[in-house]
Amino acid sequence: MPGSASVTTGGDSASPIVFIREIIKRYGANTVLDRCSLAAHEGEILTLLGPSGCGKTTLLRCIAGFIQPDGGAISIDGADMAQMPVNRRPVGVVFQSYALFPHLTVAGNVGYGLRMRGVAKSDIAQRVKAALASVSLSGLDDRYPAQLSGGQQQRVAIARVVVLQPRVLLLDEPFNALDAKLRGSMQVELRHLIKQLGLTALFVTHDQEEAMTLSDRIAVMRAGRIEQLDRPDAIYDRPTTAYVADFIGASNTWYSRVDGGLVRLPDGQTVSTTHSGDVKVMVRPHNLVLHRASSERAGSWSGKLVFRRHVGAMMEYEVQLPDGQAIRAVGLHGDQPVEPSPSESVTLAVRNPAACMVFPAA
């Protein structure tokens, strides 16, 4: 993970800054948040990740106070937010559209919150300067939002809330308004910036790569609940449910039966499991190794290579099994002594059976 070395990853000892208990939000018969609970710790970047309609944005808006939940409690820094009006909550929101005030300059935007709080003019000027410097936008004070690039607008939106020293930063899909090309570098940059400013941040996205890049912890959401909350690598390597395994990263899936605490894999190896009966087995593409059927390392799990492509330094393969199922495998380019060609017979093997994911076949 880029920049994760200097990070406190949500230690269990610290008391949470944001504490959400059994939040419920309904729109008519539709329950958007279903007893959703969550705790974010000082200095961590916690991502709410899920498909559209999973309730992640609604949860963020409840914390900001734009939406009143129908049940449950939200507290920030130990203070209950139920009766706290929007304009007094210690949170700073970075909107998806950035919502910069188009009729105010950069300095006017960044100083807005200070003016609303009645801070003295000379103080405002000084603090605006410092905030702009902290997001590397010094000298752009007199520009209007329309004269800025998307990346600059994003940083003005951050400076505008950071200048008020909020306890928590809430970011709602802050990369949606940016070019796809810019996003990757902006994600790393934003993470560094938040860490540098020492802020606690809750971040909403539907993009798993974004979540992987930015987060200390990820809360994978599904139908108004948090399905799993853990560090990015744990979410990827040890998903607790088939939904999370399916949502994060690519997987190959097949069904099997547990026999004596063991699941037999198609290549003949076995995995131990605590589940019993019918199970769903999922394997990441990079945990599969592929050999040409003619090579001496060929195994018994065979199929036909139907597609292969370079993705940077990686080779991506699609193998069709005799029963018609398509299996995806990924290897490093150059791993194969001779690259198998499409329509050639190949055999598959699991590199590390322990890394196979076994779930009850519900």
């Binding site: 929007v86 007094r88 559209s97 919150g113 609303m116 505008r160 008020l164």
Partner: protein, 272 residues
């Protein structure tokens, strides 16, 4: 592919053709008569004819030395101001409630407000005249101003509503999140961003108050005869180029209004 390409080319040509046709037509129908009127207004001869001979400002002098016409202009100006102020006072809050609030029945409200503008002015004028007579309210400058306000309120509501609908609702939420009270958010964010629409709406409502004829003809006070009524009377009685000069003054005012608008909020703002 080729058929689709040609089809779009054809549509482009069709579009350009229609635009040129409209341009020529509107030029012929709107601009040319205005030019003719302005030219006549400078004619030295005492009757309306074309092309004009000579150049004089005599008719303009006569307009401004004509006590009845000056009084009528003053009356119409007052009506225009009252109508504009009334439309701002009632139209802007209505637009805000319809576009942003969580008011129950806001769709009904917006239709209710716009409905009078759908009724032909003559019908509205006659209806107000008759109903007023039944309850003992006779035609007056006030009846005219109030009726016109109701008539053109829709213009202000629509202009402001369409601007509001284009404003990112997140702007007001951002203001709230940054610590603004509802009143502060309105004063510092919503109102300044609505200004172009309010200004544009004001120009339209003022012009309607100043020169509406259909409603005015039934509701104006007989002691405060507004400009359109006097103008109609003069046209019926004489064919003096003074009428052309009066039109010239109004055309000048319209041009000034457009220039003011474009300088203050830009013509894009008016389009909003």
């Amino acid at each position: 592919m080729t058929t689709q390409w040609r089809y779009r080319e054809f549509l482009d040509r069709l579009g350009i053709g229609v635009i040129i046709a409209i341009a020529v037509f509107s030029l012929a129908l709107l601009v040319l008569p205005s030019v003719v009127v302005v030219m006549i207004s400078f004619d030295t001869r005492a009757f309306i004819s074309f092309p004009p001979q000579g150049f004089t400002l005599r008719w303009y002098q006569e307009v401004f030395n004509h006590p009845v016409l000056v009084g009528a202009m003053w009356t119409s100006f007052k009506v225009g101001v009252v109508v504009t102020l009334a439309c701002i006072a009632f139209g802007v809050p209505t637009a805000l409630a319809c576009a942003r609030g969580e008011l129950r029945g806001r769709t009904a409200l917006s239709i209710y407000v716009i409905a009078p503008h759908m009724v032909p002015g003559i019908v509205l004028g006659v209806a107000v005249l008759f109903t007023g007579a039944l309850v003992g309210i006779g035609p007056s400058i006030w009846l005219q101003a109030v009726t016109l306000s109701v008539f053109v309120l829709a213009v202000m509501v629509r202009t402001v509503t369409s601007r509001l609908q284009r404003l990112d609702p997140a702007l007001e939420q951002a203001a709230a999140n940054l610590g603004a009270t509802p009143f502060q958010a309105f004063r510092t964010i919503t109102l300044p961003l609505l200004m172009p629409a309010i200004l544009a709406g004001s120009v339209f409502t003022f012009v309607e108050g100043f020169d509406n004829l259909s409603v005015t003809i039934f509701t104006h006070g007989f002691r405060d005869r507004p400009l359109p009524i006097e103008l109609l009377a003069i046209v019926q009685q004489t064919s003096s180029p003074m009428v052309a000069a009066l039109s010239g003054v109004q055309i000048l005012l319209a041009i000034l209004a457009m220039i003011t608008l474009s300088l203050s909020v830009g013509l894009d703002g008016v389009n909003d």
